[in-house]
């Protein structure tokens, strides 16, 4: 059997399961909020064009609109100033093999439950590697916080001094990108950086470091508690938007099935 035939059989028997890590595109889903004098991230909107009626007798369809960075979405290197001169830095230029790959999941859910500004630090990475082995080069690393289970105002968690949500420290990002050579980094929060990420040096270290090295980001992921620490395969292909800096997308993972032998 070829590898793909084996995979097909495993999918058919349930030995490999498909898990959806995507939030529903919904007008009420939070987007990042910037100071109001800046242009803002467009919310998801849906306008009914016809619904089997006088506007179109036999069909229903909608016009939709949103930002490249609305809902569960992919960040390309060109999104950040550090990545603007990287080759193949827009979503339409990224080679498709980058959209399928292995994934490591670092569980920070307990810490994030206790501290809304919880940081992913080099120590936590070292601790994880002590159990699961060194993070392989060219793999996705996802920071599990169970933040995707939060609803309403608890999600952005905005206060007068800004948003409060967990994220990585600059040194953690340096290790992941420059020592481990990961393919990309993903979170369950609205961005790859912490809510207070602008106060680090450099500001927004995940964006700064990832995109400066030509790597990718995934954010607003859902249900990372359904992934094993290692051994899953991530499928995350953004829309092919010319010169796009990112794209909403359906993120799937192949995971070992419950009955896997």
């Amino acid at each position: 059997m070829t590898a793909l035939q084996t995979l097909a059989a495993a999918l058919a028997t349930g030995a490999v399961e498909v898990v959806d890590l995507t939030h529903t595109l919904d007008p009420d889903f939070p987007v990042i909020v910037l100071p109001p004098e800046f242009g803002q991230c467009a919310r998801f909107r849906m306008e009914e064009v016809s619904a089997y009626d006088h506007r179109g007798p036999s069909w229903k369809w909608h016009n939709i609109s949103m930002s490249e960075h609305t809902g569960t979405h992919f960040d390309a290197p060109v999104h950040w100033i550090t990545g603007r001169d990287r080759p193949n830095s827009a979503v339409d230029e990224i080679a498709p093999e980058n959209f399928v790959g292995p994934v490591c999941v670092i569980d920070c859910s307990q810490g994030a439950a206790e501290d809304e500004d919880f940081e992913l630090t080099p120590d936590i990475i070292a601790e994880w590697e002590g159990i699961h082995g060194r993070i392989p080069a060219d793999s996705w690393v996802l920071m599990r916080t169970d933040w995707s289970k939060r609803r309403g105002a608890e999600y952005l968690n905005l206060r007068e001094d800004g948003a409060h949500s967990p994220g990585p420290t600059p040194e953690a990002m340096r290790i992941l990108v420059h020592d481990r050579h990961i393919r990309g980094f993903g979170t369950e929060t609205v961005g790859t950086d912490a809510g207070q990420g602008m106060h680090y040096t450099p500001p927004f270290p995940a964006h700064h470091t990832l995109h400066g090295a030509g790597r990718y980001g995934l954010q607003c992921l859902a249900g990372l508690d359904r992934l094993p620490p290692t051994g899953a395969m991530l499928l995350a292909a953004p829309l092919k938007i010319r010169n796009g800096t990112g794209s909403p997308l359906r993120v799937l993972a192949l995971v070992p099935g419950k009955d896997a032998t």
Binding site: P27, D28, P30, V33, P36, E37, G39, Q40, R43, R45, M46, E47, E48, G152, A153, Y155, L156, L158, R159
Partner: protein, 416 residues
Amino acid sequence: MTDPLQPPPKKNPQVRSPLAHLPPVPRSRAALGLTARAAEGRFALQQCADCGAVQYPPRDACRVCLSTDLPWRDQPPMGALIAETTIRISPDLYFRDRMPWRMGTVRLASGVSVLCHLHGDVRKGPVRLILRLDRAGQGVIMALPEQEGPDMADDPQLRELGADPKHRRVLITDARAPTTRALVRALLDAGAATVFVGEAEPWRRWPGRDALAAMDRVEIVPLDLTDSASVREAAGTLGGKTDILINNAAFLRPGGLLERSDTVFAQQELEVNYLGLMRLAQGFGPMMHARGGDGVNSAAAWVNILSAHALAADPAHAGYSAASAAALSLTQSLRAEMRGGGVRVMTVLTGPPDDEWHAEIPPPKVAPRALARALVDGLQRGLEEVACGDVARDLVERWQRDAKVLERELAEGAGR
């Protein structure tokens, strides 16, 4: 003495809701001048530019010298009731529902006699006249007692000539707007039964929410004008009990046309100020239109609060001026369609409010309480056009005098 108006009883679900019959409609073009003055809340009649004779009813040539130069001039509203009658039977559907109906003849100091509706407290002798819009949106004159009396506004004939919030349920579309607290307060003070306040994006915390939510007779409801599904949902939930809708949502970012190289803010300005109004109209309009005759708490009025620069652009707020102009145009179409249901549409044109997006503009600015006072007064008097604040009043006046001159004056300082 007027009997105080009682809150309406709960409706009998087995009885058809009353239709919104309208008073007789056709008028001459000259008589529409009466409508235009009533829309602004003025008491004005034609007065001959050549011989000074005051005219009534409106006409095309002076009753004394046959001059055709008959401009509308404000008149002292005092007169004496010299004759009255009570109509007890009428084939007209509107008056038939409201019998008996008192009418009378009032002699003005200028010598003309006008035919008018009579407030219940009016007796022969001195009266004060008001020019108001009736249910069909036409200027009519009513005689009031010289002195204000308690519960005077509850007179059934007078209540027909306004959209008094008393016992009515009001929807204010944007809870976060700086005007909302003052509007809620003023409407409750005016006797509104309930004030619903629309809240968009509850996932963004905002100051003042708890205080608003804690107010008696106030309910915060989900409503996002930029989201068609949200507006449909809100209309489906509240459309049947929205008697007065006040659209106070606004989005603007200052800046001239050439200051930005994109349409991002302009799109948001259109989404909120223009398309938001359109979504509201499509959602709430038909249901309010159907309830214009529904008793004490019938649907009564729709209010749009717009920048006075809807009339003439402020080049320093180019996108917002354009979106406001679009909203003003849509308001006119909405008024035309709502008239058939007996629902008034009022535009409140304001000068610059004291908010973060008018920080560059020196005072005078419009305080939320002043806006709320003008708006409630406009509802009670059934106006169609209200200019709130010195800047807006001045702008409207200059626009009426010479729109082209005003355009040029507003352009001073732009493009330097």
